[in-house]
C-alpha cells in the first residue's frame, strides 16, 4: 500500500501538548432508541489528514455531521480550536464540508458555486474573483468556470465541490466519502491529489470513508468505528501491524486468528498454546499477560513464510494446500491444518515461472517471526 509520509514508529500526535483543533468529549447521538454515536471522545490535531473509517451504519457520518453542525449531539461537547461549538449552527463554524453527493447548486455556474461562500462573507468582488480563479487553478478546472453542474462529468463535479469547500480557507475541511462516486482508476489518482492539496494548504482534513485502502493511503491517522464506538485510533501502519481487537484486525486487510491460552510471559515474549494451530506460538508483547488467560494471536497472510522441512519449534505449522488464487502480483494460498483450521498466506510472484511452484494437495510447513504478529485480548 502506498505511503506518502515517512512512517513513524510512534504516533507523532500522541505526545503533542498543543490544543487539538478538534476535541470531541463524550459525544453521544441517539435517533429514537438507536445509538448512532455512543460516547465518543477524540482529539484531532492541526494539519492532520484524519479518517473516520467503518462499515455503513457505524456512526462515522453522524459524527462528521455533528462536526459540521448539521446534527446536535444528544450529550457531550465538541470543541473546535478551543471554542465550544456544540450548539453553534453550521453557518457560524470555521469549517467547510464536501458533501458525498457534492450538493452543487444546479442553478449556478461553476464559478458562482465556488464564489457562494465568499459572497456570504461579503468579500469585495475583486477578491472573490481572485480567490475563485485561484481555487479553480488548484483543482485544475479553469476552463469550466461558466459551465453549469449538469454539464460536468463526475470527476469534474468532485473538483468543483472541493474547490467550493476550500474557497473560504476553513480551519477544517470535512469530506464525506469524497471519492465514493468516482470509478476505480480516477479514485486512485485523486487520492494522491487530495493528499497533495492538503499538504500544500495545511488545512486539517477529516474524511469519512468505508474504503480501508483509501483510508490507509491518505490518512495520517485513522479512527476505526464500529457500532457507534471507536474501536481504535492509530496511524495506518500501526493500525495494520498492531490492531487491538479482532474487529480491527479483520476490517483492515486479511488476518489469520488463532485462539489459545497464555503459557508463560517473560522478556516481552509470550508463549501461547493453541490447539487450533497445532503448535505453540511465540509473540512479542510488552504488556504483562497472566498465565492461563484466553487470547487470540493475529498473523497477517504476507508475514507467513514457507519452510522446506517440518520443524516442531514454536510458530511452525503444518498443513496441506487446499486453494490457490493467482492474482498476478501475489498468490493467495489456503492451507488446511490438522485441526481443520484454515490458514491463509500470500507470496509475491517474484519469478515469472517458478521452478517448483506450490501446488494443490502439497504438504507445506509455515512459520513466522514472533515480531511480525500480535495478540488480541478482545
Amino acid at each position: 500500500m502506498p505511503q506518502h509520509r515517512p512512517a513513524p514508529n510512534d504516533n507523532p500526535w500522541a505526545a503533542s501538548d498543543e490544543e487539538p483543533i478538534v476535541r470531541v468529549e463524550n459525544v453521544t447521538k441517539t435517533f429514537g432508541n438507536t445509538y448512532a454515536v455512543d460516547d465518543i471522545s477524540l482529539n484531532i490535531h492541526r494539519g492532520e489528514f484524519f479518517s473516520l473509517l467503518g462499515a455503513s451504519g457505524c456512526g462515522k457520518t453522524t459524527l462528521l455531521r455533528m462536526l459540521g453542525g448539521f446534527e446536535t449531539p444528544t450529550s457531550g461537547r465538541i470543541f473546535i480550536d478551543g471554542q465550544d461549538v456544540t450548539h453553534v449552527p453550521p453557518y457560524e463554524r470555521p469549517i467547510n464540508m464536501m458533501f458525498q453527493s457534492y450538493a452543487l447548486f444546479p442553478h449556478m455556474t461553476v464559478a458562482q458555486n465556488i464564489a457562494f461562500g465568499l459572497k456570504q462573507d461579503r468579500m469585495p468582488s475583486l477578491h472573490i474573483r481572485e480567490r475563485v480563479s485561484e481555487m479553480m487553478a488548484l483543482v485544475q478546472i479553469e476552463k469550466l468556470a461558466n459551465r453549469k453542474p449538469h454539464q460536468l462529468s463526475g470527476g469534474q463535479r468532485q473538483r468543483v465541490a472541493l474547490a467550493r469547500a476550500l474557497a473560504k480557507h476553513p480551519k477544517i475541511l470535512l469530506l464525506d466519502e469524497p471519492l465514493g462516486a468516482l470509478d476505480k482508476k480516477l479514485r486512485e489518482q485523486t487520492q494522491f491529489e487530495l493528499v497533495n492539496i492538503q499538504e500544500r494548504l495545511g488545512i486539517t482534513f477529516i474524511v469519512v470513508t468505508h474504503d480501508q485502502e483509501e483510508a490507509m493511503t491518505m490518512s495520517s491517522r485513522i479512527a476505526l468505528m464500529h457500532e457507534g464506538r471507536i474501536e481504535q485510533v492509530d496511524t495506518p501502519r500501526r493500525m495494520y501491524e498492531f490492531p487491538i481487537s479482532r474487529y480491527a484486525a479483520g476490517f483492515i486487510g486479511s488476518v489469520n486468528l488463532f485462539h489459545g491460552h497464555v503459557v508463560e510471559h517473560n522478556n516481552d515474549m509470550v508463549l501461547i498454546r493453541s490447539d487450533e494451530a497445532g503448535a505453540d506460538l511465540l509473540v512479542h508483547h510488552s504488556q504483562p499477560l497472566l498465565s492461563g488467560m484466553e487470547i487470540t494471536v493475529a498473523v497477517r497472510p504476507e508475514k507467513i513464510i514457507v519452510r522446506e522441512q517440518r520443524n516442531d519449534e514454536p510458530n511452525h505449522l503444518h498443513g496441506v494446500i487446499q486453494e490457490i488464487a493467482y492474482l498476478g502480483d501475489v498468490s493467495i494460498y489456503h492451507i488446511e491444518l490438522a485441526s481443520g483450521k484454515r490458514v491463509q498466506f500470500t507470496q509475491s510472484n517474484v519469478q515469472a515461472l517458478a521452478e517448483q511452484p506450490l501446488t494443490w494437495g502439497q504438504e507445506v510447513a509455515l512459520s513466522w517471526n514472533p515480531y511480525s504478529c500480535g495478540v488480541l485480548s478482545q
Binding site: 448539521f70 449552527p89 467547510n96 458533501f99 453527493s101 444546479p106
Partner: protein, 305 residues
C-alpha cells in the same frame, strides 16, 4: 391449423402512434374543432334569426357561392372601449389574484413540504377536500358569509368593531376573496410537488458555506422552485382570466370581466358573432403566457440535464 387473425401489414400501426394519437384526437375533437366553429361564427354577421348569425359561405343562386367575411366584430372590440376595459379588468383580477395566491400558497406549500412525513398526507387532503363539494355551492356559501347580515359582519358587529354592516358582497373585494379561495389549491399542489423534490443537502451546503436560513431560502429554494411557481401561476391566471361565475355572483355591477361580458353578448344581446370574436381574442391573449412558460420550461429542463 388456424392462422391468427391480424391486420393486413399495410394497415398495422405501431403502438406509438396510438399513444400519441389518442390525446391529439381528443384535442382535435373537443378543442380545435369547436374553436374553429367559434372562429367561423366570429367572422359572420349577427341577424335576428335562428341561429342568430348569417353564415358567411352561402349559396346565392344555382351554384353560385358567396363568401362574405365580416371583420367588423373584431373592429368593434377594438373601437368600443368597453371590451378592452373588460379585458384589462380580467387581466387585473387574474394578475392580482395570482399574486395573492402566491403569497398565501407558497408558505402553505413549503410548510407541507417541510412537515414530518405522517403530517403531509393529511395536510394535502385538507387542500384537496373542498373539491369534493360543488364549486357553485362553495361560491354561494361565500355569498352567505360576505353579505350584509352574513357571518363576517355579524362577528365584527358582535365584537363592537363596527356599528353598520360593511358592504363586502358585490364589491371587487368579494371577487378577489372568491377567486383566491377557489384557485388556491391549483397553485399549492404543483408548487408542493416542486418543493418536495428539492434536495435538502443543497440547503445544508449553503449553510455550511455561511449562508443564514433566510438567505438560504432566497438564494437556493426560491430560484429552484421557479418551475413550480410558473406552473401554479398559469393554473390560476388562465382560468381566472375567463372566470364568469365568481364575478357574476360575488361581484357588483361595476365588476367588468371578459367572461361576464361574453355571457351577456351570447345570451342577453344574442350577438353570437361578437361574443365569438371576444372568445377568439381571449384565447390568443392566453396563449402568449403559455408559450412563454413552455419556452422557459424547455430552458430549465435543458439546464437540469
Amino acid at each position: 391449423m388456424m392462422s391468427r387473425l391480424s391486420w393486413p401489414t399495410a394497415l398495422r400501426v405501431p403502438g406509438r402512434v396510438w399513444v400519441i394519437g389518442a390525446p391529439w384526437f381528443w384535442l382535435a375533437l373537443f378543442f380545435i374543432l369547436p374553436f374553429l366553429f367559434v372562429l367561423k361564427i366570429s367572422l359572420s354577421e349577427a341577424v335576428l334569426a335562428q341561429p342568430p348569425y348569417l353564415d358567411w359561405v352561402r349559396e346565392v343562386e344555382d351554384g353560385m357561392v358567396l363568401i362574405q367575411l365580416n371583420f367588423g366584430n373584431y373592429l368593434m372590440l377594438w373601437e368600443d372601449s368597453l371590451y378592452l376595459a373588460a379585458l384589462w379588468g380580467s387581466f387585473k383580477v387574474a394578475a392580482i389574484s395570482t399574486l395573492i395566491c402566491l403569497l398565501i400558497g407558497y408558505p402553505m406549500a413549503y410548510a407541507i413540504a417541510l412537515a414530518p412525513n405522517h403530517w403531509r398526507m393529511p395536510l394535502l387532503m385538507l387542500i384537496i377536500l373542498p373539491f369534493w363539494t360543488s364549486f357553485l355551492i362553495r361560491v354561494y356559501a361565500w355569498m352567505g358569509i360576505l353579505k350584509d347580515n352574513g357571518l363576517i359582519n355579524q362577528v365584527l358587529m358582535g365584537m363592537g368593531l363596527i356599528s353598520e354592516p360593511l358592504q363586502i358582497l358585490h364589491t371587487p373585494v368579494a371577487v378577489y376573496i372568491g377567486v383566491v379561495y377557489s384557485y388556491l389549491p391549483f397553485l399549492v399542489l404543483p408548487l408542493y410537488a416542486t418543493l418536495i423534490r428539492l434536495d435538502n443537502t443543497l440547503l445544508e451546503a449553503a449553510a455550511d458555506l455561511g449562508c443564514r436560513p433566510w438567505k438560504q431560502f432566497l438564494t437556493i429554494t426560491l430560484p429552484q422552485s421557479v418551475p413550480g411557481i410558473l406552473a401554479g401561476s398559469m393554473l390560476v391566471f388562465i382560468p381566472v382570466m375567463g372566470e364568469f361565475v365568481i364575478p357574476d355572483l360575488l361581484g357588483g355591477p361595476d365588476t367588468l370581466m371578459i367572461g361576464k361580458l361574453m355571457w351577456t353578448e351570447f345570451f342577453s344581446n344574442k350577438d353570437w358573432p361578437l361574443a365569438s370574436a371576444l372568445a377568439s381574442v381571449l384565447l390568443v391573449v392566453l396563449i402568449i403566457p403559455f408559450v412563454l412558460m413552455r419556452h422557459y420550461e424547455q430552458k430549465t429542463a435543458d439546464n437540469l440535464g
